[in-house]
Symmetry: C2
Subunit: 144 residues, 2 copies
DNA sequence: CTTATTTAAGACAAATTTATCCTAAATAAA
DNA sequence: TTTATTTAGGATAAATTTGTCTTAAATAAG
């Protein structure tokens, strides 16, 4: 479904939301430990999230990654997915045809449309704040 | 969503259904041309479909790939997907956790459940015969 | 039975994704 | 201003997926 990079990116963002809520910044080492991911690779993914303005980075002593407190509630799953995997999952043809649309549909076009729309809606409506809250309350987990 | 191999496999199976309906066998060269895929790679994927008994192969002169006529109507998208990509798309965790279930869910477990179930239902209910019919009538296309 | 034809299988190669490492650049703190 | 610390970025490597090629095995037809 998602690339490994995207899976790490989503988990990392949830953890950063969690920490930002406490007014704390986190570094790649801490993040990688918390989400059980390779540290250097995770750092790369964090760079992409910063470039796409999903998260913010601060260099120097006491630096790290964070999210503006008043922006936290606005970030959706779709923002991280787009930043890392692009929007192929939102637009791409289920069978990889270059020019698949209503006028020239692939064999599964209509069947996939409903699924893809449901996925898109879910990703665009689910906030990281909501996901972070469930981690905090012990209702869900970032690893194992 | 699906691997390239799986995309080719689905398209190939549709074409084989189409030809089997006419009582004709097809070879990898013909298939690759029809679905615009690399021939040798497609041949590998056909082997997997044969091993998983989605299609049948006949060696020797006038040989090729086919599907038993009375089996055609029973084959579903899910059969080809399972043969090539396994069932990770049906069972796997959206964030790649090893042990993700109701008791120990990943942060997106519930959100993904609905999507995954919808996808699973669609794949298990959609027959290749139906897809082949739409190709035949010009309502959908295998390439471009 | 022999032969031509076709799929099966394994080794190999290219491309992409995942992952690591080292150095540069930025910057906060002292 | 200097220094310690931290992210950014590029080069490299490993693993996986995608793709190719050659030979073996099977088998239908003659």
């Amino acid at each position: 479904m998602f690339s490994k990079a995207c899976e790490y990116g989503i988990k990392a963002t949830i953890f950063i939301v969690l920490k930002s809520h406490e007014g704390k910044r986190v570094n790649p080492k801490e993040i990688a430990k918390e989400i059980d991911s390779p540290e250097a690779f995770t750092a790369k993914i964090l760079q992409a999230l910063v470039r796409h303005e999903v998260i913010v980075s601060v260099k120097g002593t006491y630096g790290g990654f964070e999210i503006d407190k008043d922006k936290i509630s606005t970030i959706k799953l779709a923002d991280a997915v787009r930043a890392i995997d692009g929007d192929s999952i939102f637009n791409g043809c289920g069978l990889g045809l270059k020019s698949c649309d209503e006028d020239h549909p692939c064999p599964v076009h209509d069947k996939f449309k409903d699924i893809r729309d449901a996925l898109k809606n879910m990703l665009e409506q689910t906030s990281f704040e909501e996901l972070a809250f469930n981690i905090k309350s012990g209702a869900s987990f970032l690893k194992l």
